[in-house]
Symmetry: C2
């Protein structure tokens, strides 16, 4: 146990070998005059250290912490976040950025130096535009309104959530006002938080294409014979875990840099590019946990393959939520719901769960995990219907921000669109307008990135297949190294050096998110599964 | 996965319910004028939040982190420690302490307010007396010299460790010089870091008593018939874990506030009084892990039972290493190596490991786990010989600090005392003078607290038995609640409100560490085990 002092330096049990590295880097430069760039780097390194510390503590909170540790942990995270934010937004960082203007021009746009300064300046200026009183009010509203949403959903009581939603929206309008003149329309300011540089107009145009070309596919499938649901099956949890590890180890998960743990809501976190933690959940009667694991693996791999030279800088991270989601959806769906994948893994799955899969073939199972059925809940939606859930939210969010209808009417607006886009009647608010927590914490503008991620995944997928034509054959052999390495070399290694659009251009040749590859992909796959061409129009 | 921003506020998956608490406490006071005391409290709360964050990250590093996460984690911990130290030693804290001098006098010595100010002032003044350049040099030396010690021990090469040890000693002398006039002798300044208020003269006198009264016991036992070692046994690890949980759950471990995990070197850490993490290690052929678990339980229980009203203050912690060790040794030895304990648990142990304990009785096992045999290695020493290992180090440390002999001679000085105190010949430096890591990281003055902990445990033990005369009968029934509650009410709840001596006085009626109860305890126990009175003199 620690000595009672705050410092750790006295505790013999606490001193790890590798501390050496830091102290060398920290003290061997004593007496050397630091350049402004070194100074910027070392301040940013501290910001990153604090942010990553908080990230591991959040992982711990959700995966390891005894339940009664929660109140103290909440305080610890709040303090860490405050210190991180203060360290980053200090005027000293601004002074260094000013001093470094010439230095930045002297370096190539692509260089580490110019990229670090450019990205830091953008982050810093955006943070500084928002008064800290407004940031505090937003945080406060988020934390107070979240439990109100939890209760409203539990009780299926939409009206009790209205005051919280009204406050969230008012704060978001104040937030948008901080960026007067920076954007073409108000919603842009919100999108930009999650998908930097993305504009509402482009998302709108993209989603109109999906409404015209993706929605009809579902209508068409809806008229076909529904599949017979399989017999109830049992999947012992320990065997599920073993199977998942078999899968992700072939993808590139290794114990020296990764962990996989069970949790309630799956997520991924990282302490560094070499400390990646993914989580999943298990059900006794279905293999949803496997798909969650592959999804989180995709997020983890993006962070894992960022160029190690960017470590301890704000560049060492995936560049946007859309790009990130493209990676998780790729491993979950384009790989994990593909026939070549199951040609390799299904015999192994059957071996582990012989009773569950007695008379089932790889092809049967492939059809089963790709079955299309419009449903109420976004997080349970299949590939063919998922984007429509997002489009609905994207449209409503803009109308909410603009105040296009009285807030009391939101529920009807939701239900009407569910019928229009998915042909579904919403029985209650809990499985309708109250299903997601995002609005309760003011995360408005976030949803779009899920659909954008789907679209980007297919754009990248076409490109990978051009470069690696025998990818399917490799999957059938259980080989995923070529895909992993391609993604590392063409996308992951850049981290946040470039904007999302610049990054996408480096990967696919075009800076624009394009919905066509995704619709092509869906048509081909659904045609295969439903035995005839679908939506050939 | 996180959005790329540093803030967490945008990540819907990251927002835990309980964050509510903080924001309420943080924002509901907006507009209210804070008193100096509130201001001090809130600054200290941040210091504690940062320190506890680091503590959980160290737990994570040793128990959960993938191996390749180490370099980044080292940086994160260094940053956290630096920020913690800067926040605590800021001149603002000193200014608040000055402002609060009258406020402190207006409050009872025992009050929360006066205690917080008094303890903070002592910590702050001690920290401020040491120039940060010296602190940095000490940290640097610790981290650079630790791996040198590892290598020296591996290669059994004492000479290669000498330059590192010389540097440690020189820095310690500089450190001592910062406290000119505060102490009676130089070694006092070092002791005070681990056992605040303890003086070398008192430890010396105490240890002289042990040399006169404890050492002879061993000589006497050494002349008796050695026990036949038991047949080799196998203890499946999962069964060990289950048995340990049976034991500590009866002690007071519960899953809502505690964790038990395997590690390499057992230790205890806490995120708060309600988030206690103990670790242990398992061997296939012996039950040492059980004793490590009970030991760490004792540390954990002390932290767990600190008054929750002290949470997020520097008072929420055990008061000294000696008092802490008294608690770990009590649960490990006075409880866990007692006959009443095994009368209850041995039948359960036998049920779990029927092959290992075929012909063994509770009494046989009790004798086995209390067998006395002088040995080379401190951490493997039994209750009867342990303190002698400490006395040897205590004496050598003072001579090292004083430069009483050339450093090259240290090895011979060590070996000579091992022969004198324990009757053992030291075959090599690795199992002699190089066995402990403490000196490599400058932890000089630390060892004494291990022996002081043993002595205090027996002092408290006598007192508990006065208040709860049927404690042994309770143990025989598997009841440990009375002991746990007594310790909570008489010791744990105080945290760091009082000095170690004041705390000891509240528990036992006397502020002095007294070696007699421990020697009495040893005599009685060894007499029981070896079948006749031992050292009746």
């Amino acid at each position: 146990m620690d000595p009672p002092e705050f410092s750790i330096s006295h505790d013999p049990a606490a001193l790890p070998d590798q501390l050496q590295a830091i102290f060398r880097s920290r003290f061997c430069s004593v007496g050397v005059v630091k350049t402004a760039f070194d100074e910027l780097r070392s301040r940013l390194a501290e910001v990153v250290d604090l942010a990553k510390s908080a990230e591991i503590l959040r992982w711990d909170e959700q995966v390891m912490m005894p339940a009664r540790g929660a109140p103290a942990r909440a305080e610890q995270l709040a303090t860490l976040n405050r210190v991180t934010h203060e360290t980053f937004t200090s005027p000293e960082i601004g002074r260094l950025l000013d001093q470094l203007a010439d230095f930045e021009r002297e370096h190539d746009y692509d260089s580490f130096e110019a990229s670090l300064i450019r990205v830091t300046r953008r982050d810093w200026e955006k943070e500084r535009k928002v008064p800290s009183s407004l940031r505090a009010a937003m945080s406060r509203a988020a934390t107070l309104n979240y439990p109100i949403w939890v209760r409203a959903r539990e009780r299926d009581d939409f009206d009790s959530f209205l005051p919280a939603l009204r406050e969230s929206l008012e704060l978001k309008r104040e937030y948008v006002a901080c960026f007067e003149g920076d954007y073409e329309e108000p919603y842009d300011a919100l999108l930009d938080d999650y998908e930097p540089g993305m504009r509402t107009a482009h998302v709108r145009e993209t989603f109109e294409y999906l409404k015209a070309h993706q929605a009809p596919l579902i209508g068409e499938l809806g008229r076909r014979e529904p599949r017979k649901p399989p017999e109830p099956r049992r999947f012992p949890l320990e065997e599920q875990r073993r199977f998942e590890l078999d899968v992700v180890r072939r993808f590139g998960f290794d114990d020296s840099s990764w962990r996989l743990d069970p949790t309630v809501h799956p997520f991924a976190r990282r302490g560094s590019t070499q400390d990646i933690r993914i989580t999943t959940r298990y059900f006794e009667d279905k293999l949803d946990g496997l798909f969650a694991t592959m999804h989180e693996f995709g997020h983890g791999l993006y962070e894992h393959q960022v160029d190690p030279a960017l470590e301890r800088t704000p560049l060492a991270s995936g560049v946007s939520l859309g790009l990130h989601e493209s990676q998780s959806r790729m491993w979950e769906n384009l790989v994990g719901r593909s026939l070549p994948f199951w040609r390799f893994f299904f015999p192994r799955l059957k071996e582990r769960f012989p009773e569950a899969f007695g008379g089932t073939s790889a092809e049967d199972w492939y059809r089963e995990v790709n079955a299309v059925a419009p449903s109420l809940i976004r997080v349970e939606a299949d590939e063919a219907t998922y984007n429509l859930h997002i489009i609905l939210r994207f449209e409503l969010e803009q109308e909410l921000l603009a105040g296009s209808f009285p807030l009391e009417q939101l529920r009807e607006e939701w239900d009407r669109r569910m019928w229009e886009y998915l042909g579904i009647e919403v029985p209650d608010a809990a499985s309708g307008v109250l299903q997601d927590m995002h609005w309760s914490i003011g995360a408005i503008g976030y949803f779009s990135t899920y659909a954008l991620g789907n679209l980007i995944s297919a754009q990248i997928w076409e490109k990978v297949h051009e470069d690696v034509p025998d990818l399917d054959e490799q999957f059938e052999q259980g080989e995923f190294g070529a895909l992993r390495e391609w993604l590392g070399a063409h996308l992951h290694r850049y981290g946040r050096k470039f904007t999302p659009a610049e990054t996408l251009e480096r990967v696919t040749g075009s800076p624009r998110i394009d919905p066509e590859p995704y619709v092509r992909y869906l048509r081909r796959k659904l045609g295969e599964i439903y035995g005839q061409p679908v939506g050939s129009g």
